[in-house]
């Protein structure tokens, strides 16, 4: 018996759905083994996680709260990945978005006393997106003009951004009335994103959904979307067709960084109402899984963003209810990505099993040639 991989004639649509699903199941099974090893009952644990994430209004609202940054960063990562620009820097771009929004909220009213306060929030949003976009632009410039690998630069710039905001809320921006808590003073109320009453779900959810719709439209119905498609599938053909690679790298990173920056705005203006420790908890990295699992498709990103947010919230819940480490959720996340990356193979290939070649293969010998061999 031989098991072989065979190239598919066309990428399978079924595989596009099945691979993420089966990866999820395998990851849960794998996580189950780890849970067993720590003495916990996997089924009970997973049930507790599911209830914690989706059981009831509060659970669902908390899941949506975490889905907002995951979807925004996931969309940003997905659009860059579509052009095969490996933006690993959503975390840093998110941090810079939060930083810029915080600066506007804390200092702009003092600098421009005539600014009507109803303008504060829009300016924060624009500033946050711009900061994320510019932070993303730097690796794009380095790639376009000096040929520096963007995986390295986007990753390294995360640390710069994270340490920069830490310096601010531990140092010069720390709230003197904060009892030593690492965070800035709270923003004026005009700089808060409106929330759905009774929950922490803020306007960022609408931004995320609108961003998904717009992105889908841009990618499928515009000239720029076409250019992204051609570059992503065959950069040499793009150059041959007169599509400027460097211009598009810059453009795509402005979009990608801008979306991650918007996620940062949502976190500071929608949740914490200040720049504080806990802004960078890995949404930007989880977004990479979201983008892959969502097949770089905006709708997929929305769906997977909510699913993985549920995983995070569920992870927090079992920490409280079952006294298990929340890291279980992170283990599961890692395992999902691991199985996904392995499973992507099946989009292009399928397994074929040959049950013993020789038995089946012998054709009746031609009569005329019977005796020769």
């Amino acid at each position: 018996m031989r098991i072989r991989l065979e190239r598919r004639l066309k990428p399978s649509r079924a595989a596009g759905v099945l691979v993420p699903l089966i990866s999820l199941i395998l990851a849960l099974a794998f996580g189950g083994l780890i849970l067993l090893a720590t003495g916990a009952n996997p089924i009970v644990t997973y049930k507790a996680m599911a209830v914690g994430a989706f059981g009831g209004k509060y659970a669902i609202s908390e899941t949506l709260v975490k889905a907002i940054p995951l979807i925004l960063c996931g969309l940003g990562v997905a659009v860059a990945f579509r052009m095969r620009f490996w933006n690993i820097g959503a975390e840093g771009q998110l941090a810079m978005g939060g930083f810029a929004a915080a600066w506007v909220a804390l200092f702009l009213p003092g600098l421009l006393p005539n600014l009507p306060l109803k303008w504060l929030l829009p300016v924060m949003i624009v500033a946050g997106m711009l900061a994320g976009a510019l932070w993303g632009l730097i690796p794009a410039l380095l790639r376009a003009f000096v040929g520096v690998n963007e995986v390295i630069t986007t990753l390294m710039m995360n640390y710069i951004a994270i340490l920069w905001i830490e310096y601010l809320f531990y140092g010069p921006w720390r709230d003197p009335k904060g009892y030593g808590f690492p965070g800035t003073a709270p923003f004026p109320v005009e700089g808060w994103l409106p929330r759905y009453p009774g929950t922490r779900v803020h306007l960022g959810l609408v931004f995320a959904l609108v961003a998904a719709v717009v992105l889908w439209f841009v990618l499928t119905r515009t000239r720029w979307g076409y250019e992204v498609r051609v570059i992503g599938e065959n950069p040499r053909a793009a150059r041959y067709a007169g599509i400027s690679l460097w211009r598009n790298f810059l453009l795509v990173m402005l979009v990608s960084g801008g979306l991650a920056g918007l996620a940062g705005v949502g976190e500071v203006a929608g949740i914490s109402h200040r720049l504080q420790k806990g802004l960078t908890v890995g949404y930007g990295y989880t977004a990479i899984i979201v983008a892959w699992m969502g097949q770089l498709n905006p709708w997929g990103v929305v769906l997977v963003g909510i699913l993985l947010a549920g995983l995070l919230v569920g992870g927090d819940q079992i920490q409280i209810t079952m006294r298990l480490p929340a890291a279980v959720a992170l283990v599961l996340q890692g395992a999902i990505l691991f199985f996904m990356l392995g499973g992507v193979l099946f989009n292009q290939y399928r397994l074929r099993v040959d049950w013993g070649l020789r038995r089946r293969s012998i054709r009746p010998t031609l009569p005329a040639e019977g005796g020769e061999s």
């Binding site: 000239r223 040499r236 053909a237």
Partner: protein
């Protein structure tokens, strides 16, 4: 040889090989005798390469048996095939560029186990080279060798591994006419020693020269096996295609018009930073085809790339219709209505995973009605794509089919359809028919001639000298990035062009064998 003379060296019985959606080999019976050159002739996609990949252990057949020298064998891997004395020289050489000839010989061999005595291997290689007239320095590194020499190394490698059955997949595509002569001499020497040579080709002329017997494949089935002496090129062509073929595409007389492309003193470097084009100058007029002949790697690719803005010129000028486009962006040059059929169709000319419709708008997606402002017009794209598919007879299930799934001929038609859709004033076509079957070749050549009739200027870069002689009005020969000469196609002499391709300027005496080699 000790075997009974009638025992075939290779006997393949009822070979079936299916790929998703196609039967590449449909109950193929094939045999080759010791001491014969047996050609496998057929159009692309006829199943020649599949059959030989099965024989060389790359594929397992779904059904059928293989007998070598009368004994049934199962070949599970190329290593099995080599152990049975089967060696295949692929179209793309499998050599390590940075290693020497001798080092490449032992690559992948299980002996010697520990200590590598290169001196001894070099001596063995020298001995083999002398025996078969495959001259090559065993201490030379692969990258220093010409393509023809690299092919000799591949053949030597197979002989060194004790091949008794040598399979050559389209070996002459990369050779000058003189090198082809040398290769054929080597093959004849091998067959007189009782070795079997299986020669894959779709070129009728050379098959008629070198073969003892010819097996013609069509659509995965054997049409016939014939003795060379009892057949003719036209009969073979009929068997290959299943119908009568026009060998000459009709080319009407045409008076060239004004100058479209003027290249003067052009210099450029290749990817390694070495000079690839040296002071190249020529012009092409409206309604004129300038053929560029030369052995692959003598600056043809760089020439096409500089003219289309994909490579920087280090000196000289390129003028299209009195507009200086030297070192302009590809976008600007496309805007000057310069069409480009690149050498690497799937790697550069098309986007394999995108549908036909996305591929045909690559040059016009910024124009109305394909797009309006920043938005694409899906309806107009569909209509445009369907019109091209119909007009150019592109066989595709729909315009939504990824071009990756089209056959070679239809890929090239799709590419040409797009380039012609910009109404080019200048068309640069590189190897436009390479790897295409007879029918598609004819269609592509007709399209190129149609452009000439419309008044476009064409630069035709091809390795196929017959193609250039058939289509071009004038022939430019490139050798090591220099123009060896430009001659009118009418009174061109194949031998003279062959010499120019080998680096002899017209008027100089032909270099001797040893001089050519040391050059």
């Amino acid at each position: 040889m000790t075997e009974h003379p009638t025992t075939p060296a290779v006997r393949m019985i009822g070979i079936v090989k299916r790929f998703p959606g196609v039967v590449a080999n449909d109950h193929v019976d094939f045999e080759a005798l010791p001491g014969e050159v047996h050609s496998l002739l057929g159009e692309n996609g006829a199943g020649k390469s599949t059959l030989m990949n099965i024989l060389s252990g790359l594929y397992m057949p779904d059904e059928g048996e293989i007998h070598l020298f009368g004994k049934p064998v199962v070949l599970r891997s190329p290593r099995d095939a080599i152990a049975h004395g089967i060696g295949m020289v692929h179209q793309h050489f499998m050599l390590v560029e940075m290693h020497t000839v001798a080092e490449n010989m032992v690559l992948g061999l299980r002996k010697p186990r520990f200590i590598l005595n290169l001196r001894q291997i070099e001596r063995e290689v020298e001995q083999l080279s002398a025996q078969y007239g495959l001259h090559v320095d065993p201490r030379a590194r692969i990258w220093q060798l010409s393509v023809g020499e690299q092919q000799r190394v591949e053949i030597l490698k197979m002989l060194y591994r004790g091949a008794r059955i040598l399979i050559l997949d389209e070996p002459t595509a990369v050779l000058t006419p003189q090198e082809v002569e040398d290769l054929f001499a080597t093959l004849r020497k091998m067959t007189t020693e009782g070795k079997t040579v299986i020669f894959i080709s779709h070129k009728l002329e050379e098959v008629m020269v070198i073969s003892d017997r010819i097996t013609v494949l069509r659509g995965g089935k054997v049409v016939a096996t014939v003795n060379k002496a009892e057949t003719s090129p036209s009969e073979l062509a009929k068997m290959m295609v299943g119908r009568e073929v026009l060998f000459r595409v009709e080319k009407e007389e045409r008076q060239p018009g004004e100058v479209v492309l003027e290249v003067s003193g052009l210099c450029a470097k290749n990817d390694k930073g070495l000079p690839a084009l040296k002071n190249v100058s020529f012009t092409i007029r409206e309604g004129e085809i300038l053929g560029v002949a030369g052995v692959a790697g003598n600056g043809q690719r760089e020439l096409a790339e500089v003219l289309t803005g994909l490579r920087k010129a280090t000196a000289g000028t390129v003028t299209v219709l009195e507009c200086d486009v030297t070192n302009c962006s590809p976008r600007k040059i496309i805007g000057e209505k310069v069409g480009h059929v690149p050498e690497d169709r799937l790697g550069m000319g098309l986007v394999p995973n995108l549908p036909v419709s996305d591929n045909v708008i690559m040059k016009t997606y910024k124009e109305r009605p394909i797009s309006a402002g920043p938005f694409l017009n899906g309806g107009a794209i569909g209509r445009f794509a369907r019109r091209l598919v119909e007009q150019f007879n592109i066989a595709t299930p729909s315009v939504q089919t990824p071009v990756r799934l089209l056959s070679g001929g239809n890929l090239q038609k799709t590419l040409l359809a797009r380039e012609i859709s910009i109404s080019p004033r200048l068309m640069i076509a590189m190897h436009p028919t390479r790897g295409l079957d007879v029918g598609a070749t004819e269609a592509v050549r007709r399209l190129l001639l149609e452009q000439r009739k419309q008044g476009a200027a064409l630069l035709l870069i091809s390795e196929d000298l017959d193609e250039i002689l058939e289509l071009a009005d004038r022939i430019l020969v490139l050798y090591e990035g220099e123009v060896q000469g430009i001659v009118p196609a009418k009174d061109a002499d194949v031998a003279a062009i062959g010499l120019m391709m080998a680096g002899v300027k017209p008027g100089e005496p032909a270099a001797t064998e040893t001089e050519r080699r040391s050059a």
